[in-house]
């Protein structure tokens, strides 16, 4: 498949300048290169939430499940249980995964479910026209907080680390090449791989200049060390004006959820019948 073929014919309806394009194309490039290396793309399933991010479902020629707001992870869990040959990518938003569906995200990490989660973290509810989310900076003026939001954001990287995610990274939609590499590594990782992607929302929360002035690349040599990762996670709390590290923050190996529930060979009808008879005998 060519990259063009991976993009569907559906009319793209993101705003000009939207960071979602960068995510879409980074994903496309990574998948094409994987296909070239022999990975069959029909084994990919994307699961999307509801929000601007979710529209990527329509824009890609990939198997997909356009789910509910906040519910990508349980859907992905089901797909992985049904068929662990399928590689599942959750494309989700900050409203989607950090507000409505936060618990699932934490449980995905806790269980080390073998899926890749890309959070289109534009730090705003885009599709519902600009309200604050759990990662919006303090004081963000959205339509539900015209006087500025008075809550402090939480730090998704720190939360993911304490929840047990085995691969944690941060990307930025203005750093397309790095983003590609991160997505690729996340896809290669066995286990719960999570990337918080600082995504520009051109319409409601354009933080390009803020980010551009603060980003730097993390030294990834110690990515296996929890304490180092913890230190990195806490450098920038999504609110203070610290430097913003990008790259792989943490990576380690842990048992997979799916391995506890391997797909068994099914009983034959005769075996099933025998079991039913046994139960009936026991109960008679």
């Amino acid at each position: 498949m060519t990259g063009d073929e991976l993009i569907s014919a559906a009319k793209n309806t993101w705003c000009p300048g939207c960071g979602n394009f960068a995510i879409q194309h980074a994903l496309k490039d990574v998948l094409i290169s994987m296909e070239n290396e022999g990975f069959p793309l029909e084994n990919i399933v994307i699961v999307t939430g509801i929000g601007q991010h979710g529209k990527i479902f329509d824009f890609m020629n990939l198997n997909g499940f356009y789910s509910l707001h906040g519910r990508t992870i349980p859907v992905a869990t089901g797909i992985r249980l049904a068929n662990p040959d399928l590689k599942v990518i959750c494309l989700t938003g900050d409203g989607d995964s950090y507000a409505e569906g936060l618990d699932h995200l934490i449980f995905g990490a806790k269980r080390n479910l073998d899926v890749t989660v890309l959070v289109h973290d534009n730090r705003v509810y885009g599709l519902t026209t600009g309200q604050y989310t759990p990662t919006s900076p303090y004081g963000y003026r959205g339509r539900s907080t015209p006087g500025g939001v008075k809550e402090y954001p939480f730090n998704p990287l720190e939360l993911m680390l304490s929840s047990g995610a085995s691969f944690i990274a941060r990307g930025y939609t203005h750093k397309r090449d790095q983003l590609k590499r991160l997505i690729r590594e996340a896809l290669v990782h066995k286990g719960f791989s999570f990337i918080d992607i600082l995504q520009i929302c051109a319409t409601y929360n354009d933080m390009s200049r803020y980010y551009d002035a603060r980003i730097f690349d993390w030294d990834e040599t110690e990515a296996g060390d929890y304490n180092t990762a913890y230190g990195k996670a806490r450098e920038w709390d999504y609110n203070n004006d610290a430097r913003i590290g990008l790259g792989v923050m943490y990576r380690h190996t842990a048992p997979l959820f799916e391995d506890n529930y391997p797909v068994p060979e099914r009983l034959s009808s005769a075996q099933k019948l025998a079991w039913v008879r046994k139960i009936m005998d026991e109960r008679a």
Binding site: A82, K272, I279
Partner: protein
């Protein structure tokens, strides 16, 4: 009803093992050829409160218990105090003489027996059972066989305890065998589980909630043997969405819950509706609203099940009336969910889920096995392609060279989002075509049961667990009994047929408004009256009989 019948009440504190003792008594009676039914009454706590079970055995199948009983087995004084008035003339109380003060009846020196056998207090109920075996004139050898089977742990000691009590007891009211073949005795939850297994259940998911938790426990216990997977996610929301992920990728997942958990599933039910993902929900009703009475029953979620989730979409709702029906219809429900790619609900209730019933052991014939699959030669695969009866053939990912998309938005045949008004209407029509077809199919299977005296002009209208008591009184009082099993799509023609010649009918339901009565009123049927109970408890036979006397001369 039947000439020969016997009712036994056993009571004690929570933690005394009343439920298992009740089950053993049911088995003891089943063993001699009776058809049995047990109602177990317990508050929502682990230890201490008053628990009791009523086991009723008769020659014909039954699904209700009586207020009056022939035997009371009292593990404590409270049982005697609370239930003594139920004792029929010539009935017998068998009690723990070490804790209960009573002048008549058979006192079993439980404490001494346990001491003699160095047995723990929990074996007290084996003693009471032993006393009962003798008092009811049951055969010791056959009975000890049942005891052995029922108590895989500490079998020998339990048997010795029971035997001592047997000897300390005396025969009072002989319960004769019926000479009929012995039938297995199952709870509704077990029967549902068996039905699901028969319909190729692959993955069972549930967040624990009474009264369906025991399906989770039962299936978890057999998971390895059955090669199924049994999973307890973090919430009901996760339960249903995980199950829909399974459906998408081709695995038959079933989920179980009660009203409160079902609330949390409604959003995804609507998703299953528009995305055309098959899913079966076992919805065990209990007394509401809200947390209500967690361990008591009700039939008050019919309309909620009918309309749960935003928007309109086809669904199948089945309310079995006993364990046998629970097994059959769980199997059929799962098959139909997959055949039509729709959400289906087994609307059970606490009385069926946790009640014991004698069931026919035969496995019957599968109603419809596989879903409609697409021809892999046809390219491109379109998940929502127009098709006969609106049922688009399925493929599961990975499908080489094809893309499989499901979507919670209005979508085109390929699953891509659209806001086009024409496509919106077409897709709604496609979904409703499935409903129409399913309705036709439902008309053709026995979705409306008619019982009692089938040509009577006065009828009782019932559903789910109110079937048993209606059936019994229908026969006794010469009333027709009409029990719709499939509640949606409603088999209007079959119902009209069942109602043919009926001049008056009374709805018998355990809810406040008469939910089935409301449903049939949509089709122009107005009941002459409603007999409703909503205190969490079942209709006892005498109770409904008295109510019927008030309305039917």
């Amino acid at each position: 009803m039947a000439e020969r019948e016997v009712s036994v009440l056993i009571g004690g504190k929570a933690g005394d093992g009343i439920s298992s003792a009740g089950q053993i008594i049911a088995h003891l009676l089943a063993q001699t050829g009776y058809r049995v039914h047990m109602y177990f009454d317990y508050p929502s706590l682990i230890k201490g409160g008053h628990n009791f079970a009523i086991i009723r055995a008769a020659e014909e199948g039954i699904g209700a218990v009586r207020e009056q009983v022939d035997f009371i087995l009292a593990l404590n004084q409270e049982t005697v105090n609370l239930h003594r008035h139920r004792l029929r003339e010539r009935g017998v109380v068998i009690y723990d003489a070490s804790t209960v003060k009573l002048a008549e009846g058979i006192g079993i020196p439980v404490k001494n027996i346990l001491a003699a056998e160095e047995a723990p207090p929990v074996m007290g109920n084996s003693a009471i059972i032993g006393g009962f075996v003798r008092a009811a004139g049951l055969n010791w050898d056959a009975s000890s066989g049942v005891l052995k089977k029922s108590m895989p742990k500490g079998t020998e000691k339990n048997l010795r305890v029971a035997r001592r009590a047997y000897e300390a007891s005396e025969e009072r009211q002989q319960v004769p065998g019926t000479g009929k073949p012995v039938l297995p005795v199952l709870t509704g939850n077990e029967a549902i589980s068996v039905g699901l297994v028969e319909a190729d259940l692959e993955i069972y998911l549930s967040y624990p909630m009474s009264p369906t938790s025991n399906i989770l426990h039962f299936l978890a216990g057999y998971a390895d043997e059955l090669r199924i997977r049994v999973i307890q996610p973090e919430s009901e929301i996760a339960v249903i969405l995980t199950a829909l992920g399974c459906s998408y990728a081709g695995s038959r997942a079933v989920i179980g819950t009660s009203g409160g958990g079902f609330c949390l599933m409604t959003e995804a039910l609507s998703l299953a509706g528009i995305a055309e993902l098959p899913i079966l929900v076992i919805l065990g009703q209990r007394t509401g609203p809200s947390t209500g009475l967690a361990t008591y029953s009700a039939q008050s979620d019919l309309h909620f099940a009918l309309h749960a989730g935003q928007g309109e979409f086809p669904r199948l709702i089945i309310a079995p009336g006993d364990a046998g029906e629970a097994r059959y219809w769980s199997r059929t429900g799962l098959d139909l969910a997959w055949k039509y790619q729709i959400p289906a609900i087994i609307l059970s209730d606490r009385l069926i889920c946790e009640g014991l019933y004698s069931v026919e052991p035969e496995t019957g014939i599968r109603y419809a096995a596989g879903p409609v699959m697409a021809d892999p030669a046809i390219h491109p695969y379109l998940r929502y392609a127009p098709a006969d009866y609106g049922i688009s053939p399925l493929r599961f990912p990975p499908a080489k060279g094809e893309i499989v998309r499901v979507n919670s938005h209005v979508h085109d045949t390929d699953g891509i989002t659209t806001e086009d008004p024409l496509v919106t209407k077409e897709m709604a029509d496609k979904r409703m075509k499935k409903m129409d077809r399913l309705a036709l199919e439902i008309e053709g299977i026995n979705s409306i049961n008619t019982g009692g005296v089938t040509d009577a002009v006065i009828a009782l209208l019932c559903w789910g667990s109110s079937k048993g008591v209606c059936e019994e009184l229908g026969k006794k009082k010469g009333l027709r009994v009409i029990q719709p099993v499939v509640l949606w799509p409603f088999a209007e023609k079959a119902f009209a047929h069942a109602m043919d010649g009926v001049e008056q009918f009374y709805a018998v339901e355990t809810n406040e408004s008469g939910q089935l009565a409301t449903l049939v009123s949509r089709f122009g049927y107005r009941p002459s009256g409603k007999i409703l109970k909503y205190d969490g408890r079942p209709f006892m036979v005498e109770e409904l009989e008295a109510e019927l006397k008030k309305v039917i001369s």
